[in-house]
């Protein structure tokens, strides 16, 4: 494939994103507009924007790579990414919208009437956002290296710089438009190549015959029960606490609209994930040589050119590169919006200028981390972020919405426990598994034990602290669960 194709696709997506970002600047003026788009976004727009924000490097490149590398076990990732929205619908969507808060720290502070809880939540939101941006930048590095031959760092720096500029200049209003656009771009960018490749595969001889390409040892029956269950706990519950996803729910006009939006998101994601899955299946039959940990994530970028050399292959390659860049840009910018929102409100007084400074700061840190760390598989890295989120923010959100007895001390104890346990498993994983190989699955997929422990600590400490239950608990819970006044 020629590098010109890569350059053209990357520049086109970057230009369109920046243009839409600046167009949005004209209609985002007041602080409230800037943060949550005045809550005037319609369910379909909102759902597209959530999809655009959510479908990251892990979804666009990582899933196909993982199915190629590990087989049917990789299919659990998109299932979990999608079903997470079911959990969000069931437990969080409408109450969170009705809470009237802007961000997760706003919510926990209002619910528990404690500034200390707010601080802890803010730190977690920032850490989660940064952890999640890192694999996006690594995906960009991989894409640039594979498609243009430029050094990896160019991709990371380009995405980080674009995101900082677009977020700092447009705020969330424009981001809603950008994100909605990005979803449909990503869907087209992966669906069209898959359909085209399926059409030509009749004429091309597979590298491997079906029984070798899809051996039972990699099939659905070979699943490792503990790892799969733990991964599902992480993905299903982690979605509840993702800061860049939750902030979208404040742009729904009311609780029922928040529910409708979530159902549409489920449908959009289900349609989208059919295509990376198909890519992975195609890869197993037609590109088995890519099934190595370093190369598998590039499957989506490389396969069109392999099966369809010539102009059509170049065009399809340009399309998938554009889609991949849309994925890095949209997820990173969504994360930067929420991280910058938290930093600017808590440290810089909540002004628009503070938000801009924070936007630059919150892209710089993950960039440094992306340089400092060795890239692992994209889907796996994002899966660990979900495990961390599920162990920290998810218990507080769930108990805060559904349990009267939650107290500030309980919430802080639970978040600290979850962060310590899952953080140790993620950061110290290599050391721990080297010392005790027997507990390797427990460390590599920690959610199944860290989430229950975090919930338990939250509940026990809240129980012991019963006398400090916030005075306004009942009124706040009523506010979360009662239908809106202006709906009848």
């Amino acid at each position: 494939m020629s590098p010109a194709v890569g350059y053209a696709a990357i520049v086109a997506v970057a230009l369109v994103s920046v243009l839409i970002g600046f167009y949005g600047l004209r209609i985002s003026r007041t602080t409230s507009d800037f943060y949550v788009a005045s809550r005037t976004v319609r369910p379909w727009w909102n759902a597209s924007a959530i999809g655009g924000e959510y479908l990251s490097a892990a979804s666009f490149l990582g899933i196909a790579g993982l199915i190629l590398l590990t087989g049917a076990g990789g299919m659990w990732f998109p299932i979990g990414y999608t079903a997470g929205y079911l959990m969000l619908l069931l437990f969080v969507a409408a109450p969170l919208r009705r809470s009237g808060a802007y961000t997760i720290p706003d919510f926990t502070e209002a619910r528990l009437e404690s500034v200390a809880v707010r601080r802890v939540t803010s730190v977690l939101v920032v850490v989660i956002g940064w952890l999640y941006i890192v694999p996006q930048l690594q995906g960009a590095a991989l894409t640039v290296r594979i498609t243009t031959g430029l050094p990896s760092w160019v991709g990371s720096v380009a995405v980080a710089a674009l995101v900082a500029v677009v977020v700092a200049s447009g705020g969330m209003r424009s981001i809603t438009f950008v994100q909605a656009f990005q979803f449909w771009l990503k869907l087209a960018a992966i669906a069209v190549p898959v359909v085209a490749l399926l059409l030509v595969t009749g004429a091309v001889e597979p590298e491997l015959a079906p029984p070798q390409a899809f051996p039972a040892s990699d099939g659905p029956g070979a699943l490792d029960v503990y790892r799969t269950v733990s991964l599902m706990v992480a993905l299903l519950l982690g979605t509840l606490g993702l800061p860049h996803v939750l902030v979208r729910f404040y742009t729904n006009p009311d609780g029922p609209a928040a529910r409708r939006t979530t159902v549409i998101v489920l449908v959009l994601l289900s349609v989208f994930y059919a295509f990376p899955t198909l890519f992975g299946l195609l890869g197993r039959a037609f590109a088995p040589d890519l099934a190595t940990p370093g190369d598998a994530d590039a499957l989506v970028l490389v396969l069109p050119d392999r099966l369809l050399p010539g102009v059509w292959g170049d065009l399809l390659t340009a399309l998938v590169i554009g889609g991949a860049f849309a994925a890095f840009l949209s997820t990173s910018s969504g994360l930067v919006v929420s991280v910058a929102g938290v930093i600017s409100q808590d440290l810089l007084g909540g002004s628009v200028r503070g938000f801009r400074i924070a936007a630059f700061a919150s892209t710089a840190v993950p960039l440094v981390v992306a340089f400092a760390t060795e890239p692992a598989g994209l889907a796996g890295s994002v899966g660990l972020v979900f495990a961390f989120t599920a162990s920290t923010l998810c218990p507080v959100l769930l108990l805060g919405i559904w349990w009267r007895g939650l107290t500030a001390r309980g919430a802080i104890a639970g978040m600290a426990t979850g962060a310590t346990l899952s953080g140790a498993a993620i950061l110290g994983g290599a050391l721990i598994t080297a010392a005790a190989p027997a507990i390797r699955p427990l460390i590599e997929q920690p959610a199944a034990w860290t989430v229950p422990i975090a919930v338990l600590v939250t509940v026990l400490v809240s129980r012991a602290d019963r006398r400090r239950m916030p005075r306004g608990t009942d009124a706040f819970l009523a506010r979360l669960h009662l239908p809106e006044r202006d709906r009848s």
Partner: protein, 140 residues
């Protein structure tokens, strides 16, 4: 699934309950804070609100919504487990469609419709719970 609400449903039309105090039933969150903007800044939740029959209705709404959410989540997990057990049945490993084993195709594409179905059922039932609360509150 029908919580504490149906009890009230049966009694209310025949013999109105003796309580008299009525406090604008549908003033959920916003109205309450609008009425007392000065109370401890803009923080929601500091308004203690009425403590009589209204709060009983609220608690029963929260309980029935929680029960509904738990049933739906459990139903989805159960349906997925049953589906996967059926998928991994050895008979399916040998069957190929378009060169891909049927078991792979089912796992790759079959769970999503389950999630969407549960979501659609939940939205209808959750709105019903809210409508029931509203009619109870209005009858007061």
């Amino acid at each position: 699934m029908s919580g504490g609400a149906p009890g009230g449903d049966e009694h209310a039309p025949a013999a109105p309950p003796p309580r008299v105090r009525v406090t604008a039933p549908r003033n959920g969150g916003r109205a309450a804070s609008d009425r007392r903007p000065a109370a401890r800044g803009r923080r929601p939740g500091t308004d203690t609100g009425p403590t009589d029959i209204h709060s009983v209705y609220v608690r029963s709404l929260i309980r029935s919504q929680l029960r509904l959410a738990l049933i739906c989540a459990g139903g989805f997990v159960l349906a997925t487990v049953v589906f996967v057990l059926a998928v991994v049945a050895p008979a399916l490993d040998g069957a190929f469609v378009a060169g891909v084993p049927v078991s792979w195709l089912l796992l790759g594409f079959g769970v999503y419709p389950l999630a969407i179905t549960v979501a659609a059922l939940y939205v209808r039932a959750a709105s019903r719970n809210e409508a029931r609360y509203r009619s109870l509150a209005e009858e007061e």
